[in-house]
Symmetry: C2
Subunit: 148 residues, 2 copies
DNA sequence: CGATTATTATTCAATATCAAATTATTTGAT
DNA sequence: ATCAAATAATTTGATATTGAATAATAATCG
């Protein structure tokens, strides 16, 4: 029904699964964005603050690796966060190529305030599946996402 | 382990599932992009050609609804496809606000050529899960993506 | 009929995103 | 120790993406 592609049974199943996975992720994110629980942050900005909050200061490279984003992208996102004084760049003493990124007090306060609200929103959206179903989904996704 | 957030069991499970879902989708797409099976098309351009190929000519609005993209975005993507002569805009006779988008012969040839290769790549990536697991995943995602 | 409302596409401004090129620095091998 | 290769950040150019504003057209309702 969703797939109009003609191919082997294996291909139809794979394509159908891929499409549903993609659509679930996109529509979930669209609904979360519509709820406005991200506190005037983009998804990626939120991700950067969140990773700094939970894992402590780190260089841009590491942030990019955690979030699966390119270096050039992280440079821009950090630029925009820095303009709003949510993070700051510091020279790294051991390696002068690196800039260590730290949360400012403002940044910490913001993520502390926004995170629980956003987690609530995620929890509400996910609740169409019961905990066991969610765990099943998480495990399947974990295997699919491997190789990172 | 992946989630450093402190909250209720329900929240932890939901957040963990959400993160794994997001990462699976992103890393899957990154690996597919790396394979270069998209024939010099971006994901969205591919999506536009694919939907026109399988569902026939339609106006930009409809394309946007299918792909969950904004109107402004579709205008630009169609612009870029039109520059490469892969689609063309036609005035709609019944409604002069609409532009009907049609595949050109070049566009049809391209998507016919690229689609099977890309489906193969998707099938290969999905094959870490057996067909039954894929179906389970598809069903869970379908329920999660509802409300579109 | 005529005015209000809705819909379609476009434009604009801001942010995201990647890949490729560049610069600065570090590391490793000889 | 020196030189080559690797790594970190930045810049640039192209495309994506949204939301808001606008213009053109259509539909509705009083």
């Amino acid at each position: 029904m969703p797939t109009h592609y003609t191919g082997t049974v294996e291909e139809i199943i794979a394509l159908n699964t891929f499409i549903k996975l993609t659509r679930a992720t996109e529509s979930l994110n669209a609904r979360l964005a519509a709820k406005g629980t991200l506190g005037n942050l983009t998804i990626t900005q939120f991700g950067v603050l969140e990773v700094l909050y939970h894992l402590g200061p780190m260089c841009q490279n590491e942030i990019g690796a955690k979030l699966l984003k390119s270096g050039g992208n992280i440079t821009l996102v950090i630029d925009n966060l820095e303009k709003r004084s949510l993070v700051k760049r510091q020279a790294s003493p051991e390696d002068r190529r690196r800039r260590t990124i730290t949360l400012t007090e403002t940044g910490r306060k913001l993520i502390q305030e926004v995170l629980p609200v956003h987690v609530q929103a995620i929890t509400a959206e996910m609740s169409v599946l019961n905990p066991q179903e969610q765990s099943t989904l998480a495990n399947l996704c974990l295997r699919l996402g491997k190789k990172d």
